[in-house]
Subunit: 205 residues, 2 copies
């Protein structure tokens, strides 16, 4: 595809136009189906400019989400070491991010996801493609079980964030991280590597 230099390459609104188009694409079509080319088309710019500004599709997604941290930088710590300790390491890393200044952005994201269906979809795509898929792909887990295991992990982690940082219910709100690691870690471990029931959906299939 030929470079089309006439399409707003230096416009100061270009970056925002790309991010708006990316948010729409990721929310509507999901991370996997969204393409840099289509996003560039919506924003009226050359795909090369999207790569120039944001790098990979993963990085564009993080920018579109205004994600305060890149899960790819944190996951090696979670995944390294004994597979039987992954639950505790995931909770420890999760709390370290949320207890840091980045946690403020996390609370804002959570508030937005709850009030806005569009942000909820982005958050869902983010959790699945940037965090859970990476963690679970690394482990020796049956592929058919990955979605249920991943979304169970999400129930416990999003609830921990809600109670500690949004609703601020004591003593979880002020507990030392290691108290929560020891309490919640085994839950995450069971959801990732433990026995789960055979899966059925509401229709009974």
């Amino acid at each position: 595809m030929a470079r089309r230099t006439g399409r707003r390459p230096g416009n100061p609104g270009t970056r925002e136009a790309i991010l708006d188009a990316a948010r729409a694409a990721f929310a509507e079509r999901g991370f996997d189906a969204a393409s840099i080319r289509a996003i560039a088309g919506t924003a009226g710019v050359d795909p090369a400019l999207v790569h120039h500004y944001f790098g990979s599709k993963d990085q564009l997604f993080l920018a579109a989400m205004q994600a305060p941290v890149d899960p790819r930088e944190l996951l090696p710590t979670v995944l390294a070491g004994d597979p039987g300790g992954i639950g505790e390491r995931l909770v420890r890393t999760f709390l370290a991010v949320w207890d840091s200044p980045a946690g403020t952005a996390g609370v804002a994201l959570l508030r937005s996801a709850v009030s806005n269906e569009w942000t909820a979809r982005l958050l869902r795509e983010f959790v699945v493609t940037q965090v859970l898929r990476r963690v679970l792909n690394h482990l020796d887990v049956a592929p058919a079980e990955l979605p249920l295991r991943g979304s169970l992990v999400a129930t416990q982690l999003i609830g921990l964030a809600m109670i500690r940082y949004v609703v601020r219910l004591e003593p979880v709100a002020s507990a030392a991280p290691e108290t929560l690691v020891a309490s919640v870690g085994p839950t995450i471990q069971r959801y990732i590597t433990g026995d789960l029931p055979p899966q059925r959906d509401s229709a009974g299939s």
Copy 2:
């Protein structure tokens, strides 16, 4: 205290004035410290009128929260039977309420709690005084451990509601209730009756 018949007994705004005063009192002072007498004073009515309209302090709180169900009607089902099955029964009852038409009100309450500090405080008081305290008081659990156990249960249940009904992450969003009962029930059971770590707060005490 003498009945003061001059204070707006029949005003159609009286009910709302009492509920407004009640929400303020429960959010600011907490359920235990809020008194019917003080709420009546704020609303400019006789305390007897509050009892006449709403009954007990518990019932006034449920009305102020616009709670779609009364936990006292559901808890006997949860508490009856084998203590080792309380985790599964609590999840089953929780899902039955949220999967019913009452769940719509629950989602609205959750959305409001996330965007509004005042509703978050009401929700916290509701969860603690109307649900967790009743469940845990019924069980043979050391009183000093009740707050941590209760707020851990809250992390898992609020996260389950968030993922199933708000973020709608699959397969949890469409899973048959019994799949979730079998998956999440043991987590709740461990938080209620299992071994927990010694508790420390962030200050390291």
